[in-house]
Subunit: 449 residues, 2 copies
């Protein structure tokens, strides 16, 4: 664990170099050592529960005396019933997942005695930047160790005492295994994020875990690839052929189930043919749940006046309300709905309510979103609900990983090639008058090493 | 095609928006239209060969009068025998490849009547920045169309006339198909690269095709993911148990076959036990090919003096010579070799010469390089040699794609989910006292749409 009081860029560099060296050294360990490390961490944290709760109380007290919102204070709290145990159970759950590395995804014989394999391997060094929730330290340490990635964890000052102790306990547990202690490092509050973000020579992937502002500022200030989403501006579209029951169920849950979530709906698009049929039913159901409807002129005119029905502005269709407000707009066709979403949404999760196969096909193909749903709540967009076993994050990026990301979002691959021919293999054996490449597919079973 | 004389950032934005709209519109086309577009492009270019060669002659003349190196001038030249035909054949070769989109890579039933699929799809809009070779326009257009990505091509001023005409002919050919003409756009010399690199809202991936300086400057100035490699600092390591014949063949070809290539060797590491046995043989073979050896004290002392044998500096081990120079260093073990390469190389391609299974295993697991070879020339690192059918580029990045990249480096995926249940599906059906998720694997055959 690094010195919480250090803040210079040379400190950031030495942390990053230590992580890189720990990553490199760990690649030679048997993969079973990773599960041993997870077991060691779980028992160390189990036995130190009371110490952690003392540290956590310091953070909680500071937070209550400070200007933190009530919801932020509650996120800090590890003493809520079942919270600590569920954090520990999370380690065992990650340990029980299939190992995502060492999987052969492509294998060819280039010529007799010359075999090529593409094998999954860890990305390398992860930098995880998070805000209040101190259990992220434990969660990310588990995911990193299971996937073979070293991790640098940078928490917010709100969780300083808890995160520092958790990280210290993790290093202590690692010291009893052959995983290098610097494999998981925690950087406390004073080190500048910007000097860590400059370590692109040593850090391979940045994962921000927090609000929009944090994510956007990180995306703007590093050459390191960033995996995450800044906004969750999700939409539901009620198509001409929608069934009323489906429309009401999908729209209401998408909006109100958990309004602060990135997969909650912020926009409702309605086919113009439904203004006097399904739309008033959906609107009543939303108003019953105290949702304010910010309506375009057509959708507004179709409703009886209410305090919760107000005119919308263009900006509302780009807004992540994260609360009981929904922007509503009438469209003439599925293709107009798709165009609206492609140019206003955050490409996260959008759902159509329809009985038309043609509309479904246009939706799934035409929509440039990570999750394209038919007759289903946007709230399904989640790694655990998808059966991925865990969720590393949700990505709205268009490279590497997209949508809910499981452990396989923390791996990349390398090519391994071995010649068993006398004298080795050179391209002259196959080109410029040499033999020909055979390019035979080989079975993709165990990696050669 | 955009106006070659425009240079403002609003022009870059409008080009990027046009590409995005063309991409979005193209997603609803049947995939067969992509092959029709490739056929149309090939025949349009076939019939316009003499016009293209006239334009090419203008660029060649300007280059000869300018300060371009001879090798740059030769890269411009489309009139060399077979060159034009091989460019055309490239289009047909790409058309013949399997379509990389619409492949289901994961499919689960979340509950009865609720199916989830992960389906490969194009990344979106590509920005390809290239230097002299004008045939890149045709090559990238073919790859983009086959994979369903829109492309913006930004060439250097050296290839202005040729690239502009090729791009114009491609747009003419697209106009005879249902692929939108703005699907492939060419931006001529005056538009600023920097204003295109700022269009991260519309452009999804930047692919630089050129020298180090180009690639590095692009990596430093955009938030858009960049796929490519800046350097190719590749090494060969001769291990204790190496066979002499293999060592000589692998080292000599890796160094001299094509010295300007990114997969040529720049560093040679030698186990200390080989100083009086294999090393002098390898050195003679290299000197015979006029390679200058920049040696550390131990490797220098083991050789008889020669004009081609000089002392090395530390900087030499970080240098991509791209010519007849090789940095040489003696190491005490495979693990020292791995450490040297992990901290000096560009993580591109490195080869060990060994008969030891233990060394092979340490090499393939411990080396943080895209291509880890055993007893094989570094020159094998190439998409066509790997049997990928084509090569989009070689990536030394650690996310999305690594090593030689085929067409599947131009795709990502989206999740499609469909509820067939009466009333649609909401998470309350499965959580908080509802039913349970079944998470049954489904066959990964055709995509639902």
């Amino acid at each position: 664990m690094s010195d919480p009081s250090s803040s210079s860029s040379s400190s950031a560099e030495s942390i990053a170099i230590a992580a890189r060296r720990a990553f490199e050294a760990s690649q030679l360990l048997p993969i079973t050592e990773r599960d041993r490390a997870l077991t060691a961490i779980r028992s160390r944290l189990e036995s130190a529960k009371s110490d952690v709760l003392v540290a956590n109380k310091k953070d909680m007290d500071a937070a209550r005396n400070g200007e933190l919102s009530k919801s932020l204070v509650s996120r800090l709290d590890l003493s809520r019933p079942g919270k600590y145990e569920s954090m520990l159970q999370g380690i065992s759950d990650v340990a029980a997942l299939p190992v995502p590395t060492g999987i052969v995804t492509f294998a060819k014989e280039l010529g007799p005695g010359l075999e090529l394999q593409r094998v999954t391997c860890p990305v390398g060094v992860l930098l995880v930047i998070f805000e209040a929730r101190p259990e992220v330290v434990v969660n990310i340490a588990a995911l990193a160790i299971k996937s073979g990635n070293a991790a640098i964890l940078k928490g917010g000052k709100e969780s300083l005492h808890t995160a520092t102790l958790l990280s210290h306990l993790i290093s202590e547990a690692l010291a009893t295994t052959s995983v290098p202690p610097a494999f998981v490092q925690s950087v406390a509050t004073r080190s500048e994020i910007s000097s860590l973000l400059a370590q692109d020579r040593y850090i391979d992937l940045v994962m921000p875990r927090g609000g929009n502002e944090l994510v956007r500022s990180i995306q703007n200030s590093t050459r390191i690839p960033v995996m995450g989403h800044a906004d969750g501006i999700c939409a539901v579209y009620i198509d001409e052929s929608a069934q009323e029951e489906t429309a009401v169920r999908v729209v209401v849950e998408s909006k109100i189930d958990y309004m602060a979530a990135c997969n909650a709906a912020e926009t409702l698009l309605i086919h113009q043919s439904l203004l006097s049929t399904i739309w008033p039913k959906v609107a009543s159901a939303l108003i019953e749940q105290s949702v304010t409807l910010k309506c375009d002129p057509a959708s507004l005119a179709a409703l009886s006046p209410s305090d919760l029905i107000v005119p919308s502005s263009e900006q509302d269709y780009y807004t992540e309300f994260l609360g009981p407000t929904l922007a509503v707009k009438v469209v003439a066709s599925v293709s107009e709905a798709i165009k609206h979403i492609n140019s206003h949404s955050s490409h996260h999760t959008d759902s159509i309510v329809t009985e038309s196969e043609e509309s479904m096909s246009a939706w799934c193909r035409g929509l440039d979103s990570a999750n394209c749903y038919i007759n289903a709540s946007t709230r399904f967009a989640d790694g655990t609900r998808y059966g991925l076993g865990t969720e590393v994050g949700i990505s709205t990026g268009k490279t590497h990983a997209r949508g809910p990301v499981g452990l396989d979002g923390l791996v990349i691959y390398k090519y391994m090639m071995r010649s068993k021919k006398q004298g080795g293999s050179v391209i002259a054996d196959y080109e410029k008058g040499g033999g020909k490449y055979t390019h035979q597919d080989l079975p993709t079973q165990a990696p050669m090493f």
